[in-house]
């Protein structure tokens, strides 16, 4: 049609024809795959053709005439006329692919056989090279996976062994717990007996002491002082104000946890009440307070400032050996804080030091040496023997209980580990406990699979947790990506997190680390554990689609 027809169109038409009749065995319009070729036949008789969605019938000459007639775009498989159409690159010698029609005739060579562009563009046919390269790539990949699969098999074996070991160990531990529990009741009984004897002996001893003390000259003040502080304490302990201190009322004071197992048991409380259910003021002063006081002092000692002579009284009852500050008002904890901060203003550095010391003490949980319990009384040999026996019994019980706790802890760890998903064949298990590093310009990144990911500046500075193990998050193949979350919070931003993309290689290593999103890290990690030939097959099938 005269010069108004675009040159390109003419070329296109010519191309369409040539492709139809030369390029392949089955004659078909340009851009149509072999499979779909039968769909592109003119209807006998009127040479019409119906859009593949059945919505419209057009003359067959309007197929590939560079005008979109069919709503589904099926009439223009070889042009760019339909926005939602597809063009089939045959790519002989390489893989066939469908590309969107929008890439046809746009001057960019998309098909390796160049079939998406007119000859004017001059696309080289690179399918043979690409096909060969792809074949080599596939072979290498297959070889890698084959070798990797062997290593993976070892990892599976080891992983399964680890699981078996864990299970064996767990059974063993359960058995040991049972043993220890039995032992514990035994030791408890021994302790109760020993303590009963001890208690009686001490009672006698104290009675004697009291008589002795009554004779001493200075004894007048001390009992009075003792009585005063004891009365104060009584008031504190007598929560329900019924004039008696009961076992339950003592049980709330954790300072009385003699075996330091975290609770004040009835037995422990009773010990302080001279094995009674409750005591009145007098009994408290004479029987209970002498037993309670050393522990109180011990406990308070935890919070003593280092300089004993400068110390601020901090607790309701204060009766150290040099305790003459009794009449001072008792500051509350808040007041103490305030005083501490006032100090701080006066001498910031000193205060900081002091603060540090305190922190240290609290952490270690030991009393300051100066406040260590006053020198133990000197008992008569028999009492001494009974006290020692009772101590031994207590220690023995404590040891058993510690054993139990340790075993329980190990069981817990095993259970946690068993709960982790180490893959369908336990192939990832051996990575738990390993750590891998990667250095870039600024940081050393560390990945400890199933534990954490972190980052440390190379020029010094603290390590930052990028995330702790959460779960597998691969789309399609679950075991292709790991997520670590709840890392250190970013300034003015979210908590850090990391995603680990995993691929197959013969040696485990991190190949790159990036931060595509602020505070969201992305690791590329290689390991033979990922050399799962089945997964690879699944993936390559996916690619071909």
């Amino acid at each position: 049609m005269h010069r108004a027809i675009s040159q390109q169109l003419a070329i296109l038409a010519a191309l369409a024809l040539s492709v139809s009749w030369c390029a392949a065995d089955v004659p078909r319009p340009r851009g149509v795959s072999l499979i779909k070729a039968p769909l592109y036949q003119p209807r006998a008789g009127d040479d019409s053709w119906t859009c593949l969605d059945g919505s419209k019938t057009i003359p067959f000459v309007q197929v590939n005439d560079d005008y979109c007639d069919c709503p589904d775009g099926s009439d223009e498989p070889g042009t760019s006329a339909c926005a939602q159409g597809q063009f089939h690159c045959l790519n002989k010698g390489h893989e066939s692919v469908d590309i969107p029609s929008s890439r046809v005739q746009d001057g960019v060579c998309d098909c390796c056989d160049g079939s998406d562009e007119s000859q004017v563009v001059g696309c080289a046919n690179t399918c043979a090279e690409l096909g060969a390269a792809a074949a080599i790539q596939r072979r290498n990949q297959a070889e890698l996976h084959k070798q990797g699969a062997e290593k993976r098999q070892e990892m599976i074996t080891r992983g399964r062994q680890l699981r078996a070991d864990r299970e064996t160990r767990r059974l063993e531990l359960e058995r040991r717990i049972k043993d220890q529990e039995a032992l514990k009741s035994e030791k408890q009984q021994i302790k109760i007996n020993a303590e009963a004897l001890e208690s009686d002996a001490l009672e006698v001893f104290k009675e004697q002491q009291r008589e002795l003390d009554a004779d001493t000259v200075q004894a007048e003040e001390e009992p009075q002082q003792m009585r005063q502080e004891a009365s104060l304490s009584f008031g504190v302990y007598d929560i329900n104000k019924d004039g008696f201190v009961e076992v339950t009322e003592l049980m709330v004071d954790i300072n009385l946890d003699r075996d330091r197992n975290g609770v004040v048991t009835v037995e422990e409380a009773k010990y302080f009440l001279d094995e009674r259910e409750r005591v009145d003021l007098d009994a408290f002063v004479t029987l209970a307070w002498p037993r309670i006081k050393p522990l109180k002092m011990l406990a308070e000692g935890l919070f003593q400032p280092p300089h004993a002579d400068e110390q601020v009284p901090k607790v309701p009852v204060e009766a150290t050996t040099e305790g003459v500050q009794q009449s001072q008002p008792q500051p509350t904890e808040e007041q103490i804080d305030m005083e501490a901060s006032t100090d701080g203003e006066a001498d910031e550095e000193g205060d900081e030091d002091q603060y540090d010391d305190e922190e240290g003490d609290v952490g270690v949980g030991e009393a300051s040496p100066e406040i260590e319990a006053p020198a133990p009384p000197v008992y008569d040999p028999e009492t001494q023997r009974l006290v020692e026996q009772a101590n031994e019994a207590r220690n023995a019980l404590e040891e058993v209980e510690r054993n139990i706790r340790e075993i329980e802890q190990e069981v817990k760890e095993i259970d946690e580990q068993s709960a982790k998903d180490y893959g369908q064949q336990e192939e990832w298990a051996v990575l738990d406990g390993e750590c891998y590093n990667f250095e870039d310009r600024e940081y050393v990144y560390t990945l400890c699979p199933f534990d954490r990911a972190s980052q440390k500046p190379k020029n010094g500075g603290a390590e930052t947790t990028l995330g702790r193990w959460e779960q597998w998050i691969g789309e399609g193949y679950k075991y292709s990506k790991q997520k670590y979350g709840n890392g250190a919070a970013c300034w003015n931003g979210p908590q850090r997190s990391a995603i680990i993309n995993i691929s197959c290689a013969l040696e485990p290593r991190i190949t790159s680390v990036g931060e595509p999103n602020r505070c969201e890290y992305y690791f590329e990690f290689e390991t033979p554990a990922a050399c799962d030939s089945e997964a690879q097959r699944a993936e390559s099938v996916h690619d071909e689609l």
Binding site: M1, S6, S80, A81, A83, N492, G514, P516, N517, R518
Partner: protein, 922 residues
């Protein structure tokens, strides 16, 4: 202890960030000495008079002397007539102590002179006429009335608010007052002294926060009032995040024009922003006029306009006459001279063109720059750039340009690359350009003070930096840390800077890499109001005070020259944040660091409409919002809105979550794909509109009043826009709505309107006034005006350059008389060859069932493109046959009804060929 304080400090900082801009970082009028001095005149008035016998008239102008009757200081004025119903009024001191700064480089060239006729001098009035316009000068008090066709449209100094502080020697005895203590000056009852001293404590030095302004030249403000007697509303003076119609400032600070880097700016605010364009328009049903106040110093603009409330409009309605004085504007500048251009319309589009005739337009941009831009602070490395580009292809979303923000550089040293993240920029660029895509990189004006950095070395050695008062290189703080600022006012500095773009120097880019100039207000993190101190010294010994608002403009001139020199036949693309009158000749703008919320989305249209009538058609906002994380719906609607603003770029702050379309749910991705594809389909319209902008000065996007000047209800509509006079766009900018109220404007005052055709369905809209229109998540409410023809390209491609040879679809929407007309421009979309006639510019005309072509200009460009489809909306019936005649050969075409339109299949005629298409009805 110290640790605790630190935590408190951080907490405060966080609180400050989350609540947006801190207005206390910026001055109020009251805190600015010259503003409060000049504003005082509003209550006292001033006394300037023409000195009889000093008048001289020339063919195009009139000159004379003025006297300040209070201090007897003398001034000279010049009133010139310019071609195109425009006057220019200049007032300067007759014998200033030292020269006062006169703005250079803002005008596109010497304005074309007009001719005047001097008429009688009666009653102290001097009348001059020029074509349809007339200026009447009154001698004492001095004021000038401007008439367009005998209607008074602008009065200058009719309020006697002219205020001109002449330069004076510094008083020997410094005032007792300590600077900074803003003591009450009981100025209101102050009696004028015999001497003309200025007692304001900020007259000779001024403090703001911890910053000191030495003010060596003392008070030198200029201020003048303009009234618009034929107007009902005022608009213009961007850049502010405010409504299109200017609001009264009677109870607030004036609008401020001072280029500033504002962190998380707030909307509905008169605060200064990144750009300053001192042009204002007054519009009423019968007349539109404008004033361009050419002054580059800090400027405040007081607006007097009727408070629009129900009572006052009711009063006006009942009385039928104006109860309030006409709208007015009081321009107050810190230094310089009075240099005002009075543009007399009479129609809105005339006035916009008059302004464009003075300051120019953006030239025809390369097509790619009108397509979709993908940006983020920052794309991390080469792999990131390449991967993002590939993802757009994977999801079949067109994308033209990838952007690199500051992190691509080696430590914020411009003209360098971070060699670790971007070891092979040329390979990365090739990955983009192979697909027709482009790369834009940022180059800011702050130069890292690093002795190992060549640019810094050169500027230091050659004395190219802006200087302190003492003559040292000024050091500020910006992205690179300690930084200095090239003095782009010096032509040698501009040439040095421009030469850096030469590919033999900047070897790691190609001629397809375009530029982004940010932070050029200039932004100085530790400077007063986050910018440069006013007493810095520029080329020619001018203070920064005099030229501040031009700094970014001069930066752009350097960049533009650099790109043109680099490749003389490729049209540069530059994006800038700071801008002044005339900057539109060099760069596109965006509205700066907005927030990911619905009000900022709404303000993107308000702000760009104001910019468009002030010369900056090439305007857009960060799609998605710069700060914060938009939810899916906001992002979808923002893409839809951005697709109908001239500059279409998604951008985000470094602390935001990644927001490329595929990171959102599939529906969002598809909505975005749909919006971007729609943008690409209309590229021929945008391109033609920009060609016509360059040719005529008519803005690409326009407020409704441009074409519906009689419809008072349309004056204030700033949530809708027109693309030329062809499309009406009302993007959905509210959350969770299933319908929007669209205003269809009236062409007269009798509620007659145009026909409008839904751009997707061709459903016809005939009503005037608000119509409720249902919307889905995909819907962008757009109508094509009945009577218009436009061309589209409906084949989606990966990028705009790949569409070069693609065929066009003509969309013809008929008016009530069955007529329509429209133009199409095409060329190579890249080079300057169109200036040698290498283009096709065609006007299509449809009437009496015939479509004809008329080619304008040379038609030398040869295009492979052709017409694949003609859509005609508004036909009552499908024609029985359609014939096309090309070169005397006639052929029949198939036509079918599709929705509200008739589609004519495959005319198959090339774009540069005449044809005649006839619809036949049996």
């Amino acid at each position: 202890m110290g640790y605790g304080l630190c935590i408190v400090a951080i907490a405060c900082a966080l609180a400050a960030y989350s609540s947006g801009v801190d207005p206390n970082n910026f001055k109020t009028c009251e805190q600015s000495s010259f503003c409060r001095r000049s504003r005082k005149v509003q209550s006292s008035g001033s006394k300037y008079a023409l000195i009889p016998g000093t008048l001289n008239s020339y063919t195009d102008s009139l000159t004379g002397d003025l006297v300040n009757k209070e201090n007897h200081h003398l001034f000279s004025f010049k009133l010139e007539a310019l071609a195109g119903s425009t006057f220019r009024l200049r007032i300067d001191e007759k014998q200033p102590l030292r020269p006062r700064y006169k703005v250079e480089h803002a005008l596109k060239g010497q304005p074309e002179a007009g001719r005047i006729r001097l008429h009688t001098e009666t009653d102290g009035e001097i009348v001059i006429t020029s074509e349809r316009t007339k200026a009447v000068l009154h001698g004492d008090p001095f004021y000038i009335d401007f008439y367009e066709h005998d209607v008074l449209v602008v009065s200058v100094n009719s309020k006697n608010w002219l205020y001109f502080e002449h330069l004076r020697p510094k008083p020997n005895e410094p005032t007792e007052q300590r600077e900074g203590e803003q003591e009450d000056q009981d100025g209101a009852v102050e009696t004028p002294k015999l001497t003309d001293s200025i007692d304001d404590p900020g007259a000779w030095e001024e403090n703001f926060k911890s910053h000191h302004d030495s003010k060596p030249y003392g008070p030198e403000a200029v201020a003048l009032d303009f009234s618009f007697p034929a107007a009902e509303i005022l608009f213009g003076i961007p850049e502010h995040a405010d409504s299109f119609v200017l609001k009264s400032t009677s109870r607030t600070d004036p609008y401020r024009l001072y280029n500033l880097d504002v962190f998380e700016y707030i909307v509905d605010s008169k605060m200064a922003l990144y750009g300053s364009v001192p042009v204002i328009y007054g519009h009423g049903a019968q007349r539109t006029a404008g004033v361009y106040w050419q002054n580059a110093a800090e400027t405040w603009v007081d607006i007097q306009t009727a408070e629009t409330n129900v009572v006052s409009s009711l009063v006006n309605f009942v009385s039928g006459s104006r109860k309030t004085p006409p709208p007015g504007a009081h321009f107050i500048s810190e230094s310089g001279i009075v240099d005002a251009f009075i543009m007399l319309g009479p129609k809105p589009i005339d006035t916009f063109k008059q302004y464009a005739a003075l300051t120019g337009t953006h030239e025809l941009p390369q097509l790619f720059s009108l397509a979709y831009h993908q940006s983020r602070w920052n794309y991390n490395d080469e792999r990131d750039v390449t991967a993002v580009s590939a993802k757009f292809d994977e999801y079949n979303i067109p994308m033209d340009t990838m952007w690199l923000d500051i992190e691509y550089t080696d430590g914020k040293r411009y003209f360098t690359w971070d060699k670790f993240k971007f070891p092979q920029p040329l390979a990365m660029i090739k990955n983009l350009t192979e697909l027709g895509r482009h790369l834009v990189v940022i180059i800011d004006p702050h130069i890292k003070r690093d002795n190992g950095y060549f640019f810094h070395q050169d500027c230091t050695e050659k004395g190219y930096y802006v200087k302190t008062r003492e003559g040292n290189d000024y050091e500020g703080w910006c992205w690179p840390g300690s930084a200095s600022y090239p003095d782009f006012f010096n032509p040698d500095v501009r040439q040095y800077y421009a030469s850096q773009f030469d590919l033999s120097r900047f070897q790691t880019v190609t001629a397809d890499v375009m530029l982004w100039n940010d932070m050029n207000e200039p932004s100085v993190f530790n400077g007063p109001e986050i910018t440069a101190p006013k007493d810095l010294v520029h080329y020619g010994n001018w203070e920064h005070r005099d030229v501040h608002n031009l700094y970014g403009h001069m930066h752009l001139m350097g960049t533009f020259a650099g790109l043109q020199q680099r490749d003389p036949n490729q049209r540069p693309f530059i994006l800038t944040r700071a801008h002044f009158a005339g900057s539109q000749r060099y760069a596109a703008i965006w509205t700066g660091d907005n927030l990911a919320d619905w009000p900022h989305l709404q303000h993107s249209i308000k702000m760009c409409l104001t910019e468009a009538v002030a010369g900056f058609s090439f305007c857009g906002a960060d799609v998605g919002g710069f700060f914060g994380n938009p939810d899916a719906e906001l992002l979808e609607r923002w893409y839809q809105t951005g697709a109908f603003l001239p500059f279409f770029r998604a951008h985000a702050h470094i602390d935001t979550k990644r927001r490329e379309p595929w990171l959102y749910p599939e529906r969002t991705r598809l909505v975005i794909q749909n919006a971007i594809r729609k943008r690409y389909s209309y590229l021929p319209l945008w391109y033609t509109a920009f060609y016509e902008l360059e040719k005529t000065g008519a803005p690409v996007i326009r407020p409704l009043l441009t074409h519906y000047p009689l419809d008072k209800d349309a004056f204030g509509i700033d949530d809708q826009l027109l693309v030329q006079d062809r499309l009406l766009v009302k993007p959905v900018m509210q959350q969770g709505v299933s319908k929007v109220d669209v205003y269809f404007p009236a062409i007269d005052d009798k509620k007659n309107g145009d026909l409008w055709y839904d751009a997707d369905t061709y459903e016809r809209q005939e009503r005037v006034g608000y119509v409720s229109v249902p919307v889905t998540e995909y819907k962008i409410p757009v109508w094509q005006r009945g009577g218009s023809i436009l061309a589209k390209k409906e084949r989606p491609r990966r990028s705009a350059p790949l569409m070069l040879h693609d065929p066009y679809t003509l969309i013809i929407c008929l008016d009530r008389n069955g007529r329509a007309a429209g133009t199409l421009f095409l060329d190579d979309e890249k080079s300057y060859d169109y200036r040698q006639g290498q283009y096709v510019y065609v006007s299509y005309d449809f009437s009496e069932n015939q479509l004809t072509t008329r080619f304008i200009g040379k038609r030398l460009y040869e295009s492979d493109a052709w017409i694949e489809r003609i859509v005609i909306a508004g036909l009552e019936r499908v024609p029985s046959s359609v014939g096309i005649t090309v070169n005397g050969v006639k052929q029949n075409l198939e036509s079918t009804r599709q929705g509200g339109a008739v589609v004519i299949r495959k005319p198959n005629v090339k774009m540069d060929v005449d044809f005649l298409l006839i619809l036949h009805y049996a």
